[in-house]
Subunit: 275 residues, 2 copies
């Protein structure tokens, strides 16, 4: 999917919401557990209910891997279902992979060829040759971890060199030599608040994938005040707040309502920016 | 598995070799492709042939994931097979995972409970809460990336703070507050040569998992000159040099011979150190 297609979809749907499919059998409505594939049954209902209000879906691979073969099958079916029924939606494998070159190449094959994801989140610690194999797939994206939403982000990501450049900025600056904003995005946690001002200076045109709104406490308004750029430039993710809005038989309607509410706020923000 | 059990196994078997099971259907002997599960058939033969010469096995998860469900099944069978038939061997999931707390918890469940690995390699970029859920499983290990073997290791891992402390050392020093040498090891690439001297100063008692001997060009002698400690403290991995020593019908014998040769050098090194 191209950058222009993502931007057009945001403009037309009046939303830059990404729905995180962190599907956990312990949290989905009990009545689904008797389905042949409960994970997929849940995802299918959530996707159909929320598609009008979002532009992207992000399954976190950990949740699927934890069920082994069953999870893997549910993941594959989910990606295929989104691709066939909601072809304009951008699909993110939240996998946080990254290994030596020949191994990253295997991961890229898995997520882009075997499974048809549009993008994969990648951890930067191992540097260029751990990221570049993902970039060899044209039309597919790397979403590199820059400044994450969790408390542990303070352990290493803010470490500064002698010139005062923090690691997260070094990651953004260095990685812009590997790919431009047509193929690389960055993960920046919503909990980082005003840091978005500095992020935007380092990556003015790049899309940012922003987890941490909702359950993790980040503020949509603050993210947009500092992170919005001429192309919107944001995919704001919500997982638990949407997909677990209810665990009764109305779970899909409740998810739609939660997504619609967030999308409504996003539409106002897009209007304010005359986007 | 305890640290003492690993050390005793090294002492008795006269080897600190780890065999990397980077099993790739494009590289295994053709005659295995007609087996019901070619990956497992290959791994089983390799494991039985090399077990006398090594103390650990390290499947790289990327190779299994790239085959989807089939790969996942082959991985599960491989771990079960090693556990049942070679119970003293330490089993490493080379997965390089790491995510926010509740997600890392899912990965830990997958590798430690669902699949019965002894250890998982973890990427440190996201900090403490991305690592700690793995440490909640007693008797299981985290092997944290410190200084990797690939060219991209120079992009960020050597970044120094104002006091001249590089990121890799910050990772080692900080993580020692999360767990001691009974539950945490570090990945240090064999290609880092003399850096082992500095690594040992930062982590004198920890085991180091050392990839990069063989195909990647690292030297066993150099690694041991600087990295060997009172408990040996090294698990040196070789993947391609052993498992693809031949792609004919003699592949298992050739793998055994390659493992035996490397283990012979290790036995000499253990003797030199009166271990």
């Amino acid at each position: 999917m191209t950058r222009k297609e993502i931007i057009d979809h945001i403009r037309e749907s009046r939303s830059f919401l990404c729905v995180g499919l962190d599907t956990d059998l312990k949290k989905i409505p009990e009545h689904l557990l008797s389905e042949e594939d409960p994970m997929f049954a849940f995802n299918k209902a959530i996707v159909d209910a929320t598609a009008p209000y979002c532009v992207a879906y992000k399954p976190n691979i950990a949740f699927y891997e934890s069920l082994g073969v069953d999870g893997w099958l549910a993941l594959q079916k989910t990606v295929d279902y989104i691709r066939q029924n909601h072809p304009r939606h951008f699909i993110i494998a939240d996998a946080k992979r990254g290994d030596i070159g020949n191994t990253s190449k295997m991961y890229a094959t898995t997520f882009f060829e075997k499974m048809d994801f549009d993008s994969v989140t990648v951890a930067p610690y191992m540097g260029s040759d751990s990221v570049k194999p993902f970039l060899d797939h044209s039309g597919r994206w790397v979403i590199l971890l820059a400044l994450t939403s969790n408390p542990g982000s303070h352990d290493f990501q803010f470490m500064e060199d002698a010139d005062g450049t923090p690691l997260w900025r070094r990651v953004i600056e260095t990685s812009q030599h590997w790919a431009d904003e047509e193929q690389m995005m960055y993960v920046v946690g919503a909990t980082q608040g005003r840091m978005f001002e500095q992020i935007r200076r380092a990556a003015p045109r790049s899309f940012l994938l922003v987890p941490g709104v909702g359950a993790q406490g980040g503020s949509l308004e603050e993210v947009c005040r500092y992170g919005f750029n001429d192309d919107c430039g944001l995919l704001v993710n919500s997982s638990r707040g949407i997909i677990y809005a209810s665990n009764g038989s109305d779970f899909a309607e409740a998810a739609a309502a939660a997504a619609k509410e967030l999308a409504g706020k996003m539409a106002d923000i897009l209007d304010e920016h005359n986007f």
